[in-house]
């Protein structure tokens, strides 16, 4: 691989990095450089070790082998505090914010400025607000983070990193929860900082972003560096092949063009707090309905209501023409409606439990039809789900030890193994690598083919367009129109989404 050890611009160099968790080897002999004022993209499948590399550089995790040099000096941070004071900052992929503190305090956590011995609240509020506005989030800096949605929280995370005054920023999937507009604003900030000489390590599964923002690319596979590219203008096909280790022929499956009877009907439903109003649509058996919209459009609220997770103030939901009462998620589940939630850590997984336990929890009707659980069946069921969804992990492994993308797969696996009638997926591929993404798309198509009604909510327009028979566009909680597949294109959707 192309290494230039004494390149004058090199700020960080990593050599021979290795990491083991007991018997599990996660990284072997990883080495790369980061230069001043550049964006190095770090690519790889779920579980390839990207987050582990970042965590080591940022002092969160200690390596079991290898050395690092930062600004010409040895870099072996024992804690994030060490890394921060050296000028290395990280947005962790999975880290959550402090829900009971204000936005401003979250942004400046651990480094609150003082004036006359007191915390300078005016200044942090002002600076946080300023930073957030530049990222496209217009909320009061005193708002509690608890009251923010995932996307807004992600923006707060980014604001936190950008105010660090770090010389190297590691962004671990910063855009996974963001929409197009917010992403653009983020990239503009990155360009500005680059010009000031700040370096970035940028991790993302959205390969289209890489060409836009990265200067160089490093690809990891199974904990090893398999390629480095001196330019980001590499065909996606090549990158995918390097990541996955085999060529990937296509992304989206071909859809059956013959949906059946109408299965799910949603008539004039509104939420009590007005996040969505008077929304109506229907989904047929074997049909995939995409729901598009910009962040904050109310899509998540809408689908949560249909799944019985949130109350509705008016309207009805019908299955095969029969109105159903939705007072509790179990009501929806009884009717065969399942929801794959967008927030995997908050709503999808029980982190201290094993993969098997997580998957079993929603599937006891199948695993234990007699009402008695046989632990062997639990593991057996989990193993078949693991192989069906290509989860990298063992049935007995805790989900907290899985990489982010693999956790997402567990969520999908546990929901879909029920054999439902209506499947709602909210941001199903957030944080999922290309290879696995194609596999999930196949699963979606397969669900439809087996006669289920599928709803896919996604901020990734290509995903919605490539996957859905029809696309409903939501904006400010109102259904702005439903586009047939042949009419659905980026322009048409964006036009409706921004009304």
């Amino acid at each position: 691989m192309a290494e230039q050890p004494n390149h004058s611009d090199v700020v960080l160099s990593v050599r021979g990095l290795g990491k083991k968790y007991g018997p599990i080897t996660v990284l072997t002999d990883v080495g790369f450089d980061v230069r001043r004022g550049e964006v190095l993209a770090l690519l790889g499948e779920n579980g390839a070790g990207k987050s582990t590399v970042s965590a080591i550089i940022a002092g969160l995790v200690r390596p079991t082998a290898g050395t690092m040099t930062w600004m010409g000096k040895p870099h072996a941070p024992l804690s994030p505090a060490d890394a921060l004071s050296a000028g290395v900052g990280l947005i962790h992929q999975e880290m959550r914010l402090l829900p009971d503190l204000s936005i401003a305090e979250n942004v400046f956590v651990g480094r609150l400025p003082t004036r006359q011995g007191r915390i300078d609240r005016a200044s942090i509020n002002r600076r946080a607000e300023e930073q957030l506005r530049r990222l496209g989030l217009d909320v009061a800096p005193t708002t509690l983070v608890r009251d923010l949605k995932v996307a807004a929280q992600q923006q707060v995370e980014i604001a936190k990193a950008l105010t660090l005054n770090a010389r190297l920023l590691i962004f671990d999937e910063p855009t996974a929860a963001l929409g197009g507009e917010e992403t653009d604003l983020l990239f503009r900030r990155i360009e500005q900082l680059k010009a000031e000489g700040v370096s970035f390590i940028y991790i993302s599964h959205r390969l289209d972003e890489i060409a836009r923002i990265a200067d160089r690319i490093a690809v990891l596979r199974d904990g090893q560096l398999v390629a480095t590219h001196e330019t980001a203008q590499i065909p996606v096909k090549v990158l995918v092949e390097e990541m996955v280790g085999r060529p990937l022929d296509r992304m989206f499956p071909t859809l059956d063009e013959a949906p059946g009877e109408v299965l799910l009907e949603v008539e004039n439903i509104s939420s009590p707090d007005g996040t969505f109003k008077d929304v109506s649509f229907s989904v047929r058996q074997g049909e995939v309905l995409g729901i598009a919209g910009i962040v904050g459009a109310g899509r998540t609220e809408l689908v949560r209501a249909i799944a019985g997770a949130d109350p509705i103030s008016s309207g009805v939901v019908k299955i095969q023409g029969k109105p159903i009462g939705l007072h509790h998620p179990s009501d929806a589940l009884d009717e065969g409606i399942v929801l794959v939630p967008e927030d995997r850590k908050g709503q999808g997984l029980i982190l201290p439990q094993t993969i098997a336990e997580n998957i079993a929890q929603t599937n006891y009707e199948q695993i234990a039809p007699s009402g008695w659980i046989n632990p062997r069946n639990v593991n057996h069921f989990a193993r078949s789900a693991i192989s069906r969804f290509g989860i990298k992990g063992q049935a007995e492994q805790r989900v907290s030890q899985l990489s982010g993308g693999n956790q997402q797969k567990v969520v999908i696996a546990k929901c879909i193994s029920r054999n439902p009638r209506v499947v709602i997926l909210d941001e199903p591929t957030r944080g999922i690598d290309v290879g696995a993404r194609a596999a999930i798309y196949d699963v979606v198509a397969d669900l439809a083919r087996r006669g289920m009604a599928v709803i896919v909510v996604s901020s990734d327009l290509d995903e919605v367009l490539g996957l859905a028979h029809r696309v409903m566009v939501l904006s400010r909680g109102i259904n702005r129109g439903i586009l047939e597949r042949r009419d659905a294109n980026r322009l048409a959707v964006m036009e409706l989404a921004t009304t």
Partner: protein, 327 residues
């Protein structure tokens, strides 16, 4: 993909112990070490008779700890168990000895009153969204007050012979009815938590209530039920204690809540919920029981006992961490 192999044998080795202790291997090792030590230092410790005595002595805490395990699994806490125990005994004694109710009916009434305490705590927690700590602290004070009001603080002595013999007569020279009740309850709840979906649901709720709700579990209903069961078991413990002491007094069970919670947590349960089990709780109860018994057999002075108990509890739990780190 990373290699996760090479641990199959070790896994298998650990699993049979962890199967029963519910993963609380550290405390389990602690228990074994403790028993070994006591067996060598006291010549009476390792006798059947002493073992049966210890079983007698742990019955009350053992029964309460079952209910507390459920509560803690759910991520809750119940401080009222000691007071509910006292209330149950007083209701029983009052109805039986003062009002002359048939004693069997008195037992039922005592259990109903206890369960009601749990219902009230549960409603405060689910409907009023109060922290479990506060709701059950309030119930602790209320139940104790009522228990004292019933007879203006007097104890009640002397129950029917058949009743007190429940705790005394050892059938087949082994189990008294009360110890048998504890053993049966332990097995029932062990099986429930391990092999019934409703039992697993408690783990899910404790792990993440929102995830559990989305999975169709009725979190509120389960919570209410668990607090009711916990109080009911505390009431049963009160009945057992009354039989054992052949008397009931409003001051009984003071401080039992800490003992009970300690037993559950020593057994590996996490106060933040979702982790633990009956197996671990049994280990915790046994550690506390054997420890107190053993120190008495060794004639250790009461003040030194306190120090030793503290140290041993710390060691038993620390063993788990050290083992985990070593791997």
């Amino acid at each position: 993909m990373a290699s996760i192999a090479g641990t199959k044998a070790e896994d298998a080795k650990i699993s049979w112990t962890s199967y029963f202790s519910g993963g609380a291997i550290g405390p389990f090792i602690g228990l074994i070490a403790l028993c070994t030590f006591l067996a060598f230092t006291s010549d009476t410790f390792l006798t059947l008779r002493n073992f049966l005595n210890v079983m007698d002595q742990i019955t009350v805490i053992g029964v309460m700890a079952i209910g507390m395990t459920l509560v803690i699994l759910l991520g809750g806490i119940d401080l009222s168990v000691g007071s509910v125990l006292a209330l149950s005994g007083m209701v029983l004694g009052y109805l039986g000895n003062y009002l002359g109710w048939p004693f069997g009916l008195g037992i039922v009434a005592a259990l109903v009153v206890s369960a009601l305490c749990g219902v009230v705590s549960g409603l405060m927690i689910t409907k009023l969204n109060m922290p479990a700590f506060i709701a059950t602290l309030a119930m602790m004070s209320i139940a104790r007050g009522i228990a004292s009001i019933i007879t203006d603080g007097q104890q009640i002595v002397g129950f029917p012979d058949w009743f007190s013999s429940l705790a005394i007569i050892r059938h087949f020279g082994l189990l008294s009815a009360t110890v048998a009740a504890m053993v049966v309850l332990t097995i029932v709840f062990f099986v429930f938590l391990k092999y019934r979906p409703a039992g697993r649901a408690l783990y899910a709720i404790g792990g993440n209530p929102e995830v559990a709700r989305l999975a169709g579990i009725h979190v509120e209903r389960a919570t209410l039920l668990v607090y009711t069961v916990c109080a009911l078991l505390a009431g049963l413990a009160g009945v057992i204690l009354s039989a054992r002491l052949d008397s009931a007094q409003p001051s009984s069970g003071i401080g039992y809540e800490l003992d009970t919670i300690a037993a559950v947590v020593i057994g590996g349960a996490s106060l933040s919920g979702g982790v633990g089990g009956i197996g671990g709780t049994v280990v915790g109860v046994l550690i506390i029981g054997f420890l107190r018994n053993g120190l008495n057999l060794l004639h250790v002075s009461p003040f030194v006992q306190q120090v030793i108990i503290g140290v041993v509890i710390a060691l038993a739990v620390a063993a788990d961490t050290l083992r985990a780190r070593h791997r």
